[in-house]
Each structure stands twice: as structure tokens, then as C-alpha cells.
């Protein structure tokens, strides 16, 4: 992982940088908010660790600016005092997590490991399986005896079923998970269930989606 550290206390900056480098991370360190904003414009990062109280530009303003450019990098704030307001403001301007000073190095490194796990093992699972069925999320390809391509929404719906096999899921839940930010209505669910059913049959899958229009649906062995 490539990490950007913005911390104005030079001794703390040095300690954190060395510790993270020893853990195998690639670290860029800067000393104020403006330098952080400039660095983010030039280089890609997996994590940004941002102190709040810094000269030239404070951490909150830097986070606001970084987010305003559309950058979605994971940001962890370092709050000097354990004041609730600081944490809330930090999260609200776009940070993802915070650590309260003084914090232990052990905890910071554990959080970085947790972050790494989440992005590599959990989110970027490229393949889901159930019985003889395989869904390749990268190529949006569903296969068993044969293979067939899926559209984006079909892939999203199939993914949700494969993450929850054997569970009865309501039309509303399916809609909320797969179409949450789209200008669509709930009857889209039945259409896509129909698409997936035909596609499962066309590739000779041993699994089926049971359930009736408007009700609960379940991915199960045929």
C-alpha cells in the first residue's frame, strides 16, 4: 500500500514514517495541509493519514479540498484532543476513520492491516462460486457447462444472491441493494430475476432462483 502522511510535528512524523516503512508500506511524508493537497494531486495513494492541527492549511480544509476534486482515497484523521466535535467534523468533511492522540503505534498499524484486508480480500473478490456455478465479477461472466455474459445489473443481482445462497430475500431488499442509487422502480427486480433464470438455464447450472413475482427469492440447488 502507498500511504501519504501529513503531520507537522517532525519527531512524530519521523517515527510514524519509519514504523510504516518497516511494516512494508511505501510512505510519503509531508508537514502541512497544503503539501498534502499538492501530493494527492501528483501521486496515487491507498491511504492518507492526516493530522488536524497543522500550519499553512489545517487537516480539515485539506480533506475538504481533496474530496472536492473527486478523490475517494481512504483518509484517516489524527485528532489532537478526544473531542467528539473534532471527530464528527472530520468524518463529515469526508474522512473515513480517526485516531485520537496520543495513540499507540500498534493500533495504527493494526488499522492499516484491517484496511488492507478489507480492500484486498473482501472487496476485490473476483470470483464467486456455488455448486457448479461460477461468477467472474471482472469479466461479468457466468459459467457452469457453458458461459454467458451478464449486464452490469444482472452481475450485481447475481453477486448478491451468491453472497447469500439459501436465504430468502425480499423483492424490496434486492431492489435496495442492487438498484439503490438508480432511477428505477421495484418492478425492475422481476425482469432481472427472469433474465437470470433464463441465463442459468442456458448454461446448464445446477442452481436456480426460486420464488414468485413480487415475493421473496432464494438461490438454491435445483
Amino acid at each position: 500500500m502507498k500511504i501519504l502522511l501529513a503531520e507537522d510535528e517532525s519527531q512524530l512524523n519521523r517515527v510514524l514514517t519509519v514504523a510504516m516503512q518497516k511494516s512494508g508500506y511505501d510512505v510519503d511524508s509531508v508537514f502541512n495541509g497544503q503539501e498534502a493537497v499538492d501530493a494527492v494531486k501528483k501521486h496515487p495513494y491507498d491511504v492518507i493519514i492526516m493530522d488536524i492541527m497543522m500550519p499553512v492549511k489545517n487537516g480539515l480544509d485539506a480533506v475538504k479540498e481533496i474530496r472536492a476534486t473527486g478523490d475517494k482515497t481512504y483518509i484517516m484523521m489524527l485528532t489532537a484532543k478526544s473531542e467528539i466535535d473534532d471527530k464528527v467534523t472530520g468524518l463529515d468533511v469526508g474522512a473515513d476513520d480517526y485516531l485520537t492522540k496520543p495513540f499507540s503505534l500498534k493500533e495504527l498499524l493494526a488499522r492499516l492491516r484491517s484496511k488492507e484486508r478489507r480492500s484486498e480480500d473482501y472487496n476485490s473478490t473476483q470470483e464467486l462460486n456455488y455448486d457448479n456455478l461460477k461468477l467472474d465479477l471482472n469479466s461479468q461472466e457466468l459459467s457452469s457447462n457453458n458461459s454467458i455474459s451478464l449486464s452490469k445489473q444482472e452481475t450485481g443481482l447475481m453477486r448478491y444472491f451468491l453472497l447469500n445462497p439459501g436465504k430468502a430475500i425480499s423483492t424490496e431488499e434486492l431492489f435496495n441493494h442492487v438498484w439503490k442509487n438508480e432511477d428505477e422502480s421495484e418492478d425492475v427486480v422481476w425482469v432481472y430475476i427472469s433474465f437470470l433464470r433464463s441465463k442459468l438455464a442456458s448454461i446448464g447450472a445446477n442452481v436456480q432462483i426460486s420464488g414468485e413475482k413480487g415475493g421473496e427469492f432464494c438461490l438454491e440447488r435445483a
Binding site: 469479466s139 461472466e141 457447462n145 457453458n146 458461459s147 454467458i148 455474459s149 451478464l150 449486464s151 425482469v191 427472469s194 433474465f195 433464470r197 433464463s198 441465463k199 442456458s202 446448464g204
Partner: protein, 202 residues
Amino acid sequence: MSIYGKYADYLPQILASVLQQIQGIGQEYSEKYGQKLYEHLEGRVKGEESMTQKCERKGLPHTPESALIENRDSIGFRIVCNFIDDIYTCIDLLKKQDNFKIIKEKDYITNAKPNGYRSYHLIMEVVTPFEDVHGNKPGTYYVEIQLRTIAMDTWASLEHEMKYKHDIKNPERISKELKRVADELASCDVSMQTIRQLIKEG
């Protein structure tokens, strides 16, 4: 002497009569349901040269027995349909013809070939007024029928182009992309079939 021997003259006549019979099935269907059973139909008698080469490849003697019995595609048809379920309707109607007997079926639609090829292959025995290789009259001749959707047909043309071009620089890449596009076309075929079903259900 033709590899088809004295039977060479019969083949175009059998082709024409089977063609007419299938056209009749199509016409009856469209009168009854107001929809086309198939989009187009084509037939051919396998050229003598191509049949001779095929026998050569298989190590068969150049005789009418090899051409008409060992090989069963001397007469061939291709029926190209709009939708997947039309293919299965066609097959059902072919099975109902008294002078057609389906002796072999290969469903490469539900069991696509690894390269992505999809199609339904049938071999039929057709009873004709002509003498056959065994000396029977009326005689029996083999006819091969391939049924596919328009999308499968388009794909097969493209794959055919690749197969007969021997100087492709990156054949693996092209094969991989052909496979991918076969799966995308299959996806469209199945989706259209499903939409058609949804329309029917209302």
C-alpha cells in the same frame, strides 16, 4: 466419375423437394400464428471436390457408399431463426413429418463448443422416390440440418473467416475475443427470449 456415382443426379432433386417441404412447414406456421417460424433457409449439395477431400481426410475409399452413407452431410440445410425458442419449435415440426426420421441430434446451444460455437445439429433419414446406395426404391438419404439464431449465424461466419485465414498474427487473442463475443451474443439471444416471454405473460 463423380464420387456420388449414379446418385449424383438425384441429390439436387432431393435437395429441392426437402427445401420445398420445409418451406411448406414455415408457411403453414406463419398462416396459423402470424409470425415467421424462421428468418431464412438455405440448402446445398456438398460439392464433389469437398466431399472427396473429406473422404480422403477420413481415410475412406472414394465411393458413393463413403459419400452418402459414411458421410451424412451430402445434403445440408441451414435454418436461421429470430429467437431461440423458434429453433425448438422447428425441431418439433420436423419430427412430425412422416418421411423424415431424426436419427441424431447435437445440441450445441445448451452445450456450446469450447470456442463459443452455438447451433443445433440434426441428421435425418429422408424417404425419397429415388433408388439409394443399398438398392432400395423408394430409397433413404441422409440430410443434415443446422438450426441457429441470426446472432449464432453471424458469429459462425466470423469464426469461419478466421479459420480460413492462415496468416493471423495473434490467433490466441482473436480466439479469446471470439469466445467472449459468442457469450455476449448468447446473452442477447437469451435476454430477447426472456423479454418475449415477459411480453407474452403481459
